[in-house]
């Protein structure tokens, strides 16, 4: 658990430093994801510990959004003043994004999914 968490945090750290140093317009954790993916390819896959800890974190992804989400209480006045715009803009744009991505992907990807 601790080794795996260390690995994830070190990957994020490398990602953060690389992104800033090279001026890549990508957030540190995403560069860290690429670093870990590279490591996994190089080592031929994760060990059991990394697999368990990583999947444990992914299962609780929702919890990790809660603190930022509670920040809604600092924005209630803005949301209240623009409720109609938000009530339309967020669902409609989300729906359009889902449909466009899904349809284009399914149309273009004619390769068989053999698993």
């Amino acid at each position: 658990m601790l080794n795996a968490l260390t690995l994830l945090i070190v990957c994020q750290f490398i990602g953060e430093v690389t992104a800033r140093f090279l001026g890549i317009p990508l957030p540190g954790p995403v560069v860290g994801l690429i670093v870990l993916l590279g490591l996994l390819v190089w080592r031929g896959g994760p060990n059991a510990e990394v697999e368990t800890t990583g999947n444990w974190l992914l299962r609780h992804f929702g919890l990790l959004f809660v603190p930022a989400g509670v920040g809604v209480i600092t924005q209630l006045d803005v949301i209240g003043a623009n409720w109609l715009a938000l009530l339309v803009a967020i669902p409609v744009s989300t729906l359009l994004g889902l449909v466009v991505t899904g349809v284009v992907m399914q149309r273009l990807d004619r390769t068989e999914d053999e698993g």
Partner: protein, 239 residues
């Protein structure tokens, strides 16, 4: 009574309270969601945010005091994003086989989602700061906050929009995929990750590892695409 008051004042100054209350409420929300049959809106995250927000308002606790403790949970968003490399690695062969479809699908979805959100909000009279904060709403929280700040939006507002977008996607994905006959799990995962970032991807991961892998890929690539196109869109759509 005075003793309780002193205890409260003490607890308010330590990160322990914010952290403990977040974890306990998350646990309660999970039980409540289960009891409600895991209906789309009975999402543990949404329930937690509602309960905690009510609690903070009722006890007149400032968000900054709460976040002192909750930041330890918030911090794990970074390592969890890194961990999305795991389902991606497990599906690397399939991802590279579909690369020629993935890039145009993400580009199209990203441009449509961001520009339609900004256009609609502007058309319905939202001020520029709100329109600009809506631009990066489909990407994962840390990225969205960074982009919002860069283009003159409000990072905390962007974080709320990210959350609302993730929840909306979770609700919209099943009927939309059915209606538009998007059956391929690779396409479903990619759409979920593009439109609903980690929140929708984590949900897809429960259904199919393939969808989770393509979702993880979409989060990363969409972060890059959004970081490039939203500043451009903002100059046109939110002058």
């Amino acid at each position: 009574m005075e003793k309780i008051f002193h205890l409260w004042v003490y607890l308010e100054t330590t990160p322990l309270l914010g952290l403990a209350v977040t974890l306990v409420v998350w646990h309660l929300a999970g039980m409540l969601a289960n009891r409600l049959g895991n209906a789309p809106l009975a999402n543990p995250m949404l329930l937690s945010v509602i309960m905690l927000s009510c609690l903070l308002i009722a006890t007149d606790t400032p968000y900054s005091a709460y976040f002192q403790g909750a930041q330890y949970v918030h911090f794990l968003l970074g390592p969890a994003t890194v961990a999305l490399a795991l389902p991606m690695y497990a599906n690397l062969r399939r991802i590279s086989r579909s690369a020629r479809a993935i890039i145009p699908a993400l580009l199209a979805g990203s441009v449509v989602a961001a520009s339609s959100a900004m256009l609609l909000a502007r058309w319905l009279g939202a001020p520029s700061v709100v329109v600009r904060s809506l631009g990066p709403k489909s990407v994962t929280t840390p990225i969205a906050m960074g982009i919002a700040e860069q283009i003159g939006g409000q990072p905390s507002l962007a974080a709320v929009f990210v959350l609302l977008t993730g929840l909306t996607s979770i609700i919209l994905i099943p009927p939309t995929m059915k209606l538009f006959r998007i059956k391929d799990m690779r396409a479903q995962g990619l759409a979920a990750g593009m439109a609903g970032h980690g929140l929708a991807t984590a949900r897809m991961l429960l259904i199919s590892e393939t969808a989770g892998a393509f979702g993880g890929l979409a989060i990363g690539l969409n972060g890059l695409i959004t970081a490039i196109i939203v500043p451009l869109l903002a100059t046109f759509l939110a002058p």
